[in-house]
């Protein structure tokens, strides 16, 4: 079960601000979910290969050729702040 500190830590890892007044309620909800998950942890899986994909696939290879056109400007139209083809963020180096 998650402690209050662990809830604060994963919120920080996930870059989601959680007001201090909401941490305890969130802890309770998350622990409800981990209670549901718990029964899977006791299963004996010795020798079982993990299943990462829904079906067995091998990575396709293709010719090393340019297949996409430059759609930089189009894709940046949906960004909150762009200038000269660059995404703008607050200053990170003083």
């Amino acid at each position: 079960m998650l402690t209050l500190d662990e809830v604060r830590r994963i919120a920080d890892l996930a870059r989601i601000e959680v007001p201090e007044g909401e941490v305890a309620a969130l802890q309770q909800q998350l622990n409800g979910i981990f209670g549901l998950i718990e029964q899977m942890r006791a299963v004996d899986t010795a020798g079982v290969e993990p299943m990462a994909h829904a079906i067995d696939l091998t990575q396709r290879l293709r010719e090393d050729a340019v297949t996409e056109e430059d759609r930089h400007a189009l894709y940046q139209e949906g960004a909150p702040q762009v200038e000269a083809g660059l995404y703008l963020v607050p200053k990170v180096i003083e």
Binding site: A14, L26, L36, M40, R41, V43, A52, L57, L74, K91
Partner: protein, 485 residues
Amino acid sequence: MHDRPLAALAAGLAAREFSSEELVRHQLDRIARLDGGLNAFITVDEEKALAAARAADERLARGEGGPLTGIPIAHKDLFCAKGWKTTCGSKILSNWVAPYDAHVVERLAGEGAVLVGKTNMDEFAMGSSNESSFYGPVKNPWDRTRVPGGSSGGSAAAVAARLVPAATGTDTGGSIRQPASLCGVSGIRPTYGAVSRYGMVAFASSLDQGGAFGESAEDLALMLNAMAGFDPRDSTSVERPGEDYRRDLAKPLAGLRVGLPREYFTADLAPDVAACVTGAIDELKRLGAVPVEISLPNQHLAVPVYYVIAPAEASSNLSRFDGVRYGFRAAEYADLNDLYRKTRAQGFGAEVKRRILVGAYVLSHGYYDAYYLQAQKVRRLIARDFTEAFEACDVIAGPAAPTVAFPLGEKSNDPVQMYLEDLYTISVNLAGLPGLSVPCGFGAHGLPVGLQVIGNYFDEARMLQVAHRYQLATDWHRRRPGNLR
């Protein structure tokens, strides 16, 4: 016109009995009259729809139309459609306009289907009731005080109310089959890899699969014919020859072995739903099918395993929504880290945040083996159960959801109760199998119940055959909510 199934609409268009423009105007008028009370759509664009309808009419006049040319459809609002707002039911994408078309959107447009709007959904497809949408819940057309199911609730409700004859959806843990069951429509989730995920906003990439809603199994076959097929832009798209999903519809069911998992018919299943599903299985027997009792011994682990794997993949996929590259950004922040934290805190709803946090935890240092790796191993055990079951049967039948549609608000404050809605659908996603739900009667409060049919890998044509033969013998799929004229 809205009373006709897809194939009949196509016949009407081909015979020039009515034009696509007339049909589209009729459906837009229905949406304008009825959707206020349903909230099935996030965006409707009359201008774009009518322009596409006129183009379809020109194509039909040249004799170049296909079975979907001129047919109005809707896309779940996580399929990118160029020039259309694509919100994923989230505030964080509330102002984001897709710069390109998803493969599915491109395919259906290529067939001449007319996009009339984008449908409401649980935020980032996380939910089973459509109540996690930033745009408000969708109401069930059979009873507007109840949920339509989710996450593709808007598409299911739109088809149930005949606002459109068919719509797309996605199914990561049951998000097509469960709302199809609760809204009394037909819905199919194909085999993982059958429909390209290109341009479909990702939730849990190893589980997500696009599919369709319609009135009947035949409608679903027509939609899949356009939607399925290899796409090199999705690395998990399977390279296989194209197929006609209608090819087996006319075949009788004599000798078909229908597996009945004993784990699906327990006290977890509401008696009214059990009665409808059992009745449907009796009908399949009358049609010549042979019931076979099977067992899926790890079925009870499917929901717990899913709530490790899906949140883990979601926490990784949704890290791209950072207030820098897409959509919404918080108005005030101290520095870059604060921009991320505030944008994501304000832009995501409670359920999305919970799942991101669960995912961040199960992937974090020291917990990865105990949760994520263990879940992947149990996932294999669940998939193996199906492989063994399909040695004894051709398709598996059972309920799609444990209950009929529940009242709005009943489960929205209890995530675990909400998660158990997907008890009968989730294992199919974990295994990567195809599944569909077709209406099979009415349970408590006169609300619809769905029969789930699960097939082996790439056996959609057989599942659709079963559903179609059943629909030739019954008329549950033709019933519609009485209050929506």
